[in-house]
């Protein structure tokens, strides 16, 4: 009854229209980037070709030549994939220990991990440059993988912890009765059970690695430079290259935006550290 009383004119007509308008408005800049990527550089700045133009793939075909796109993209893929894998390899055992064998200090350790995430990166900019140059690690894939892992480790441990907590302890205990050792427990019982949670944690970690734009810009020059660095380096195209810049930007964000659609829900869990369900 209450629902009938509630459905005013606004709910049936106004709400969908307004909601769609807001959705389209927020999506518009991405759509615009995508649309511009099919215009030639000359057409992209002419008002008469704002919406109607002859689409061309030339910007995408020349992406390698104009920007060396694939080198940066390869770096992004390599660093993000390895960083995600490494973070999980370190994070899964840690989260397992905290969820199934908590001690009095577990809560404090989790809190402390989170607090490292809040340390402003800029504060340690120079020491990082100094150290990595001294150790010969500056501008190497290894360094970027390590840094990306470390900045995402707290969030990954937290997310895995909240997933693992949901698994009944009895199942793990039953494994112990059967004489399975700790590695067996993780491999045979925990990972298959928490597979969905682990996968979405990995996906979110990958997205954060891909979009990272402080260390990847400040700790690289050419060899390990990622897409963030590529785009940042072409920040002011003097208006001449909107077409090609749009194409390379679309190629830089496309895969991630699509991946993001699949893990919106995990985002809530990950970024609020399980405090909003």
């Amino acid at each position: 009854m209450a629902i009938v009383a509630q459905s005013s004119k606004f709910s049936t007509f106004g709400r969908p229209v307004l909601a769609w308008a807001v959705g389209l408005l927020f999506f518009f800049p991405i759509f615009w980037l995508f649309l511009t990527s099919f215009k030639t550089d000359a057409d992209a700045v002419k008002p008469e070709y704002l919406l109607f133009f002859t689409p061309t793939l030339e910007n995408y075909l020349n992406m390698t030549q104009n920007y060396d796109y694939w080198r940066f993209a390869t770096n992004s893929v390599v660093t993000s994939v390895f960083a995600t894998v490494f973070t999980l390899v370190v994070g899964i055992p840690a989260a397992y220990a905290m969820a199934f064998n908590p001690s009095r200090g577990t809560k404090d350790i989790l809190m402390w991990m989170l607090s490292t995430k809040m340390l402003p990166a800029a504060a340690v900019l120079y020491p990082m440059t100094f150290l990595t140059k001294g150790l010969g690690l500056f501008d190497t894939h290894f360094l970027i993988i390590l840094v990306l892992s470390l900045i995402n480790l707290p969030i990954v441990v937290w997310m895995l912890f909240t997933y693992f907590k949901e698994i009944p302890k009895d199942i793990i205990e039953a494994g112990k009765m059967d004489g399975v050792n700790t590695w067996g427990e993780i491999k045979e019982i925990l990972i298959p059970l928490a597979w969905g949670g682990i996968a979405s944690t990995a996906l979110l970690c990958f997205i954060f690695c891909w979009n990272e734009a402080y260390w990847t810009v400040r700790l690289t020059t050419t060899d390990a430079a990622t897409l963030s660095k590529l785009i940042e380096g072409n920040r002011a195209p003097e208006g001449l290259f909107f077409g090609r810049l749009s194409a390379v930007s679309t190629a830089a964000i496309g895969p991630i935006v699509v991946l993001g659609w699949f893990c919106q829900k995990q985002l809530v869990q990950g970024l609020t550290f399980g405090a909003v369900k």
């Binding site: 999506f27 607090s115 340390l119 402003p120 504060a123 963030s228 920040r235």
Partner: protein
């Protein structure tokens, strides 16, 4: 007990890695902040290598506190963070309440809305400052010149022309300028983070007590008082979390500021540190310590809040 030892040891790699990651660079920053350390100085070459004999005490801190750019950077950090927080929370509540009820295409609208959050910050800034906000070639420039042309053609109308000639011509705004670059940064980050607020608030709205709501409706409560006295209190904690998490992310904003104006007119603390770090490492380090203090003040609140809900 011994079969519990190994499982607990499994957290050591993670803990050790983070400990090294946090303590080593931070320790160095602290050390550098107390010595004279510049990268280029011909008259005092001994200052160009870090050495304890170059001890300066709190000199770097004094230097930073007395420099005008530090005060401006603090003001800018706060201006940018507070404006973004205000806008994202208000817009987030409005949009979350709007799309929380089922309507045709709700799933698609959700996907459209969340998309900006996954755009990498560098692309976000390049896209906004060039293709949307550029005063000549961007959509802003095209829109302004379109309006002006329409205005001019209206002036030549027989009767009403006189009326339109009273209207001024519009001037496009350059968002790379000193006075406006902060506005551009606020706009683009708000665009990116409003979806985050919407997502969190919407998730929370779904767990709202529906029975309580129906009771309120039966009692004849208006839509506004339902919102004011039931929904808003329910959203209290998620709003606090949105505020805190965003504060931490936005206090370290960097790429957007670099791309919009290379810091022209709106350096925040991380940007100022980057500039100092080109030469004066002592000052950069002292500024870094101030940034750590600022972030810690924010972080303490967040950790307290999450700590309460952690182990339930």
């Amino acid at each position: 007990m011994s079969d519990r030892k190994l499982p607990r040891l499994l957290q050591t790699p993670a803990v050790l890695l983070l400990l090294v990651w946090m303590l080593v660079p931070l320790g160095m920053t602290l050390y550098f902040s107390f010595i004279r350390y510049v990268l280029n100085n011909l008259r005092k070459p001994e200052w160009t290598t870090p050495n304890i004999s170059n001890w300066r005490g709190f000199g770097n801190y004094e230097f930073v506190l007395n420099s005008k750019s530090f005060i401006l950077a603090i003001q800018n950090s706060l201006l940018i963070v507070c404006s973004i927080l205000f806008l994202t929370v208000i817009l987030g509540i409005m949009i979350a309440v709007l799309i929380n009820k089922t309507f045709p295409g709700q799933g698609i609208v959700r996907v459209l809305l969340i998309s900006p959050f996954f755009v990498m910050p560098a692309v976000n800034a390049v896209l906004w400052i060039n293709m949307i906000l550029d005063p000549v070639l961007g959509l802003q420039g095209i829109a302004v010149s379109g309006i002006n042309e329409t205005l001019i053609s209206l002036r030549s109308m027989p009767v009403l022309g006189g009326f339109f000639s009273l209207w001024p011509q519009f001037e496009p705004i350059s968002f790379r300028a000193t006075q406006t670059s902060a506005i551009a940064v606020i706009m683009m980050v708000t665009w990116q983070w409003t979806p985050f607020a919407v997502l969190i608030l919407m998730t929370s709205l779904q767990s709202e007590d529906q029975q309580q709501k129906e009771a309120a409706i039966l009692d004849g409560a208006s839509a506004w008082s339902q919102f004011r006295f039931l929904t808003l209190p329910h959203l209290g904690r998620p709003i606090a979390i949105v505020v805190m998490i965003q504060a931490i992310f936005h206090l370290s904003l960097y790429a957007e500021i670099e791309i919009v104006s290379r810091g022209n007119g709106n350096k925040n603390l991380p940007y100022l540190i980057g500039e100092f770090a080109n030469n004066n490492i002592g000052a950069a380090s002292a500024t870094g310590i101030f940034a750590v203090i600022l972030a810690n003040i924010v972080a303490i609140f967040l950790l307290r809040m999450i700590g309460r809900t952690l182990m339930e």
